[in-house]
Symmetry: C2
């Protein structure tokens, strides 16, 4: 088994794309035997992460329909033309097969999906927690170990997923479409301030003026908020990913971001912080899955909270009973001081 993993790892490192895809499927699998092998593989990759400063993991966030895929395609192709290798982790909302829709990728990112210098992975629909994949962090490790140095993690903008994505990446790109008049459409409150780079997409044709207004609105809004990072002020750009306009500027800003972000030994410090956050987050999800999503607990939740959603539901009694059910699921031990 161990010998197989080393062989598997060698194949991946040598550039075997089929093996890389299989490795990702392995990492996303919930089967116990797969987990054991996946961890061995991930540790090998983790040890082989290159120390180069010219690699970065960027979250690409935005509401559905703003053009994230088109933007990723345009930026990715630009990065490849500059000599980089681009890894993309996306969530394909139309996907129903276990590892995303290959056809969907070809339609949404036709250039990247056939480039030997890019690797596009749609996260398995079942492994997505809200807007971020359960194993996205692990997938980024795989990609970076193999040599992909521009890694783009697409998030869908659901719930708290952007905050998680922000914690697990080196930088955050918010993609928006032009708003109408004073009110900026599609802005999800709570994530504007996470952005290191804001892209007003679809800034072409009849929407160009609207995009310029949106850009200046955002510049105002962001100007009055305290900066998130010590040495970087958020940049706001207008692009038309479809027409490949503004993409050179986007690339220049991204390179500037990398240079600024990775001064001294910041990358090591930053990746350590992300590692620690990831462990806490990941084991927290497992704790919830083991307990809250336990069939016994879910059954109790359904019994207690189903039907009429009115104030006569004894919420405190329900919560207490669910706590008791969860406690009963924990093995008592001599060191158990709960």
């Amino acid at each position: 088994m161990v010998k197989d993993i080393f062989t598997f790892f060698s194949r991946i490192m040598k550039g075997d794309r089929v093996a890389l895809g299989q490795a990702m499927t392995l990492v996303e699998s919930e089967r116990y035997s797969d987990r054991v092998e996946a961890i061995q593989l991930l540790e090998l990759c983790h040890q082989h992460l290159p120390a180069r400063d010219k690699s970065i993991r960027m979250a690409i966030s935005g509401a559905p329909g703003v053009g994230k895929s088109t933007l990723i395609e345009a930026l990715g192709l630009k990065a490849i033309a500059q000599g980089h290798k681009v890894g993309v982790i996306t969530i394909d909302p139309t996907s129903s097969v276990s590892h995303g829709s290959i056809l969907g990728d070809k339609l949404r990112m036709p250039g990247l999906s056939v480039s030997p210098d890019a690797f596009v992975r749609s996260s398995a629909a079942g492994s997505v927690l809200g807007g971020i994949g359960r194993r996205s962090f692990e997938l980024m490790t795989l990609l970076e170990a193999v040599g992909y140095d521009i890694i783009l993690l697409e998030t869908v903008g659901v719930g708290q997923s952007e905050h998680i994505a922000w914690q697990l990446t080196d930088g955050f790109v918010l993609v928006l479409q032009p708003g109408g008049g004073d009110e900026l459409q599609g802005i999800k409150r709570g994530i504007t301030e996470l952005a290191d780079i804001v892209i007003i997409n679809k800034a072409d044709g009849s929407l160009r003026d609207s995009a310029a207004i949106s850009k200046s609105h955002y510049q105002n809004a962001i100007h009055y908020l305290a900066p998130l990072r010590n040495n970087w002020d958020p940049k706001i750009l207008m692009c038309s990913a479809l027409k490949n306009e503004g993409i050179d500027e986007f690339w220049d800003v991204l390179r500037l971001y990398m240079d600024t972000r990775w001064y001294a030994n910041q990358k090591e410090i930053e990746r350590n912080r992300q590692n620690h956050f990831w462990i806490s987050w990941s084991i927290g999800i497992t704790a919830n899955q083991l307990l809250v999503n336990h069939p016994v607990v879910q059954q109790k939740l359904r019994e207690r909270l189903s039907g009429n959603e009115n104030r006569s539901i004894p919420i405190f009694k329900a919560e207490y009973e669910i706590e008791e059910v969860m406690k009963e699921l924990i093995v008592p031990s001599t060191t158990n001081n709960i």
Copy 2:
């Protein structure tokens, strides 16, 4: 036991303040026998929650030192003068006794702490999770059942606590102090957009001009963000809580907020939403405490993550081992399909 709870409940409902304090201590207790009685009491209170529309639970958030206590004191006394009863749940950072510092309350809110129409409770230091008390939701239920109709929940502004507080209350007040020049001091990104009412406090004397500038900056910033609620635009006010200036306006805005918020049957719908969020949040905390905070798991975490915080820590192996430890803590069952 049951008969005692009914008697206890009657005393509380009749206005026995000592009994109310004891009830809060009971609710915040983690002892098993106390939990059973606390749940019975909370259910009685829950059934007796008045249906009146003129009651509201407001989160009062802001960085330490902006003057939240002074503002709560000023607003509270105004509300009492208008015929209301005010309940305050605070976190006393200097507190070390099990239910907060009575002396601290008397110093920080001298008027409210002696008013028969107010009840001030400092949450026990040990029960605070970041910036919000573990049992704050339960304490608000107690206060409202007894007849306190303006309930102010102070949060400290740590981590994600404001987002939790936002979910568990009817409205959100953000308290700031005037900033210097262009940059607004003390603004914590990520919560600006949660605010229904923004108070620029300490807007007196030499800080008055600065406060006016801050107010206009915030008006600009918030103007460009999508509104959080359907029928309410955030209001920004300047106050000097110490000099009791701007407090009448604050009260008027709060009353307007109540009228606007509770149109039709919105209160019932809103409180149901809060109830459901609360149950998910509360059982999630319990799940984490039962598993992640289990001594066995904590020991494993310390072993694996201690010492040198550098990239040679096998994070994936560590996470996997901790998962395995947690799984071993779960009783296997025939219905267990994990």
